[in-house]
């Protein structure tokens, strides 16, 4: 049983009229290796397979993909976590346009991230050295700043699938709260105004797919709830 049956989504828009699944046999020698290692072995069999990877240790966020129906980073997902009945099905992240094989166009995802203006904004005069923050104020950023923008959460969210042009998605909203919660940022009112419409934030239905797939163990649903509380206390 050391031969793993791997089914991989293939699509090359230049030669294929439609996407298809291609079967591969991979000899894992019974080891519990990472899914990315399996992809590298497949690449040795068929060098035309396209996928993104870089750091291979869960830091860069390049190899987000759908493994046996669940999004995650291939480089830090051991086979024992996803393989069932010796079968592994690899697909690109759902909901984004496929450029080739497992490579998706992240344009919409980044556009929503950019809309959240993910940088400190403060219109008061800059102090001589730096803007100080108490340890308690700094603690509020834990669980927010660690996001690596792999898009596993947003592409597992049905609300993002239906309205990727209007709903910011869990990744963007987590970053929106990261700056709303930052004591050094004072663009709070403008940030909240951008999220008050029925789509940008309120399309979240709280199903928590984002929480269950996040490879960094972050909780976008909680951040979304905190933003909703801020909006509510602002407007009632």
């Amino acid at each position: 049983m050391s031969t793993l049956q791997v089914s991989v989504y293939r699509y090359n828009p230049e030669t294929d009229s439609a996407p298809y699944m291609q079967e591969f046999q991979v000899d894992t020698q019974g080891r519990d290796i990472m899914v990315l290692n399996v992809l590298t072995m497949i690449k040795d069999q068929d060098s035309s397979l396209a996928f993104r990877r870089s750091c291979r240790e869960g830091v860069c966020g390049s190899d987000g993909m759908n493994m046996n129906g669940s999004n995650g980073l291939a480089c830090i997902t051991p086979l024992s976590d996803v393989v069932k009945d010796n079968k592994l099905v690899l697909r690109p992240l759902p909901g984004l346009p496929v450029m080739r094989d497992l490579v998706v166009d992240m344009g919409l995802f980044y556009k929503q991230y950019e809309r959240m203006q993910p940088y400190l904004q403060n219109d008061t005069a800059a102090p001589a050295i730096e803007r100080l923050q108490s340890p308690e104020e700094r603690d509020k950023l834990d669980g927010l700043y660690e996001c690596i923008l792999c898009a596993c959460c947003s592409t597992s969210c049905p609300s993002f699938w239906w309205n990727p042009d209007k709903f910011v998605g869990p990744a963007g909203l987590l970053q929106a709260y990261r700056f709303l919660a930052d004591s050094r940022d004072n663009a709070t009112q403008a940030r909240l105004a951008e999220l008050e419409d029925p789509f940008s934030l309120f399309r979240c239905r709280g199903i928590m797919n984002c929480v269950s797939v996040c490879p960094k163990g972050l909780n976008p649903t909680r951040a979304i709830g905190k933003i909703r509380e801020m909006l509510l206390s602002n407007a009632t």
Partner: protein, 115 residues
């Protein structure tokens, strides 16, 4: 900036709040109805119309009807903007839903205060 003109409150925050408050009203009304029916196993027409003849029950019922109307508008508007991608189909669906809600609401008022 995302714009919207056919949702109930013209704001996601207001729709969200309306949805939650109307849900609570509907839950209380439903629990009251179930409890009333359980405690009156041999319910007859006189008792039932007597219940609805009282002003507090009419107010409570009208509150539930208005909550139902608002709840349905917010919920079905959301469904239409998720799944109906063709603008004509989506707008047509929204108009039908809003007109139906209006008709049911007026009809409900007539049932409560008519005859």
């Amino acid at each position: 900036m995302v714009t919207n003109i056919t949702n109930l409150g013209r704001s996601g925050l207001s729709d969200w709040l309306i949805q939650r408050v109307s849900a609570i009203v509907l839950a209380v009304y439903a629990l009251f109805m179930v409890a009333y029916l359980l405690f009156h196993p041999n319910l007859d027409y006189a008792a039932w119309s007597g219940l609805f003849a009282q002003t507090w029950m009419r107010i409570f019922s009208l509150l539930a009807f208005i909550s139902m109307a608002a709840h349905a508008w917010v919920g079905l508007w959301t469904i239409s903007t998720d799944y109906l991608k063709h603008t004509g189909a989506r707008f047509g669906f929204q108009v039908v839903v809003i007109l139906a809600i209006f008709v049911f609401l007026v009809w409900g008022v007539q049932v409560l205060w008519g005859a």
